[in-house]
């Protein structure tokens, strides 16, 4: 969503007066989560039901966490606006560090005297405190002139988090244990996931961009292509994988394994790529095309020198949507016997091993977010300053 500029300016100024409602909201979420929701969950082993523990049961570190949350709320509500822009990022950093330490201390305390197979996993409260902390950080960005404070705070948070990981007992958390138990399997899954998603995406670009270009010139191709890929897009991924089994079997090809996976992912990735290529090219002002032709550009020169540079940002935007889509659906492909991160998630569902589920889901999210941010940056870089 692109905000209209005029209104945006007003929003940016609103924290200057009185209470910063966005930051206060973030801090309040953190306070409530600290008090009411489990910071951690203790289980005797990796698959039995657990017992929830709030932050306050984690000893002094838990109390410190609550104190930091309350302090952040006070900053959001009471600090002078001029001071707030500097204190908010520091509060967010303090909250990050306090949360990491509280989690680590809780893990150490709860597991003390318990068997090695006992687990302490991250509870809903901790996730919400983290979310509240992110909101605080987000709110701090609307203050001008505190960029250096934000940089310093980010450094502080990173250092504090590293400290908690090294000496604070963060490594005692169950997800780390789970990772330690399955390191090889985890990295294999990450590799397969990336290969499958990346390969399908590359294939979709190789097919989709030419299809989009041709769609511009050939009318029937446009209606057919956009109709077919649009239809495929609505079909649930699991159903498409199921449906692919039969035509593949009829061709004597395996209906299970990487082949149906690649086919399905490529088909899903086609829609955003073909559509954006077509929309990008057809959106070029006809006067520009006329001028180019009138100056003696051939069809391919016009495409390469004029139409492609103008459409490129939109094409990359399509690749971005496709990448995010494909990384998500690659998880489902685990069902037809491809060892993506989905395998960890579905195995976790099967035996109700929450840590295993997280071990599969978290890197998936990270991949999607990184791909999203990376391709956004690429689209920006590929946009000529003349059309930015």
């Amino acid at each position: 969503m692109t905000p209209p500029a005029a209104e945006n300016a007003q929003v940016a100024q609103s924290p200057e007066r009185g209470i910063d409602r966005v930051a206060a909201f973030g801090a309040a979420v953190a306070v409530v989560a600290c008090l009411l929701l489990p910071l951690t969950v203790f289980r005797a082993n990796r698959i039995v039901a657990g017992s929830p523990h709030t932050a306050l049961s984690a000893g002094p570190a838990g109390w410190i966490l609550l104190a930091v949350c309350v302090a952040a709320l006070a900053v959001a509500a009471l600090a002078r606006p001029s001071v707030r822009g500097r204190v908010l990022p520091l509060s967010a950093a303090a909250l990050t560090v306090a949360l990491a330490w509280a989690l680590g201390r809780a893990a150490v305390t709860l597991r003390a005297g318990q068997p090695v197979i006992s687990r302490v996993s991250i509870g809903a409260g901790a996730w919400l405190v983290a979310a509240g902390c992110t909101v605080l950080w987000f709110a701090s960005r609307s203050y001008d002139g505190a960029a250096s404070f934000r940089r310093a705070a980010a450094g502080l948070a990173a250092a504090g988090f590293a400290g908690a990981a090294l000496i604070g007992g963060l490594g005692q958390l169950s997800i780390v244990t789970e990772y330690g138990d399955r390191t090889a399997e985890f990295w294999a899954a990450v590799g397969t996931h990336l290969t499958l998603a990346g390969g399908s995406l590359a294939l979709a670009v190789l097919i989709g961009v030419p299809l989009g270009v041709l769609s511009l010139r050939v009318r029937w191709l446009r209606t057919t292509t956009l109709g077919v890929v649009g239809l495929i897009q609505t079909v649930p991924s699991l159903a498409l994988l199921g449906l692919l089994v039969f035509p593949l079997a009829a061709l004597g090809l395996p209906g299970i394994g990487p082949l149906p996976g690649v086919i399905a992912l490529t088909l899903y990735a086609l829609l955003p790529i073909v559509r954006n290529t077509y929309v990008g090219l057809s959106g070029v002002d006809p006067a520009i095309v006329d001028a180019g032709r009138g100056m003696g550009m051939s069809g391919s020169q016009l495409l390469l020198r004029v139409e492609a540079p103008l459409a490129l940002p939109l094409v990359i935007e399509g690749v971005r949507s496709a990448a995010v889509l494909v990384i998500g659906i690659a998880a489902v492909v685990a069902f037809v016997g491809v060892g993506t991160l989905g395998v960890l998630v579905f195995e976790g569902w099967g035996v109700q091993a929450d840590d295993l589920i997280l071990l599969g889901a978290v890197p998936m999210v990270v991949m999607a977010v990184v791909a999203d941010a990376g391709l956004r940056a690429l689209a920006r870089a590929a946009t000529s300053p003349g059309i930015r």
Binding site: L240, V245, D354, V365
Partner: protein
């Protein structure tokens, strides 16, 4: 106008045909038995196709209803003066949320809420929220300021403006968001069968696990048809609510 009516009629006919097809369990049995003569059990035994579709729709409708009840007011609120401070936060969260893989959202709900239908509904409602909020905000903000100015100038109150000016003008964009949301939900609900949520994913999973291709086909065909019919119905609704040019 005429065109719109024939479109609606065609889509209604498709929906009715789908419902009838789903109700004829005997057709499914006959077709699957013919396609898979070697299997002793060619039809998914635990539930009829009609039951599976009903379960599936139930999950999708409940979660979509929750999505609308939360998403529309949230989207409207951040475009009002009272909620404008949260506009950027909501926009950024929605953008961020849309990059989350649906499976990951389902997966992250499990440790918090456990297995079964309700966690799936919560996950689906949450994931469906993103396109609805995003399009509500975009649709309302696309209403031209001069139209709002004229409405205010004619003495309309802000609620009246919202319901008689902003909503009708934004209807098509909002409806497109709802359509995206529902179609994603139908797809994600299929995957959610693995968490014990039921629905059309169940025969596909069981079929894969027990190497019964007939069940896979049964679930896949029904799910694909359901999604396509739902999409074309919602596409017609989208067209119908668009302000006539």
């Amino acid at each position: 106008m005429k065109r719109r009516r024939t479109g609606l009629a065609a889509v209604a006919a498709a929906a009715v045909a789908f419902a009838y097809l789903v109700s004829r369990q005997d057709w499914w049995a006959a077709a699957l038995t013919r396609l898979f003569p070697t299997l002793t059990q060619a039809v998914f035994p635990s539930a009829t196709v009609a039951d599976l579709v009903t379960q599936h729709l139930q999950i999708v409708l409940i979660s979509s209803a929750i999505t609308l009840l939360v998403g529309l007011p949230l989207g409207v609120w951040v475009t009002r003066p009272s909620g404008r401070a949260f506009r950027e936060l909501v926009a950024a969260s929605v953008d961020f949320g849309q990059t989350f893989p649906p499976v990951a959202v389902l997966a992250l709900m499990m440790p918090l809420l456990g297995l079964g239908t309700s966690p799936a509904i919560v996950a689906l409602s949450l994931y469906g929220l993103f396109p609805v909020v995003s399009n509500t905000v975009a649709g309302i903000e696309a209403v031209s300021p001069s139209v709002l100015d004229a409405a205010t100038g004619m003495g309309m109150g802000k609620w009246r403006i919202l319901f008689t000016v902003e909503f009708p003008l934004a209807a098509r964009v909002i409806m497109a968001g709802i359509r995206t949301s529902v179609i994603i939900n139908i797809g994600t609900a299929t995957v959610a069968a693995a968490t014990g949520a039921g629905g059309l994913g169940s025969p596909i999973y069981s079929g894969i696990n027990l190497q019964n291709g007939a069940w896979v086909l049964e679930g896949a065909v029904a799910a694909a048809l359901l999604a396509m019919v739902a999409d074309s119905v919602l596409a017609q609704v989208e067209r119908a609510v668009a302000p006539t040019a």
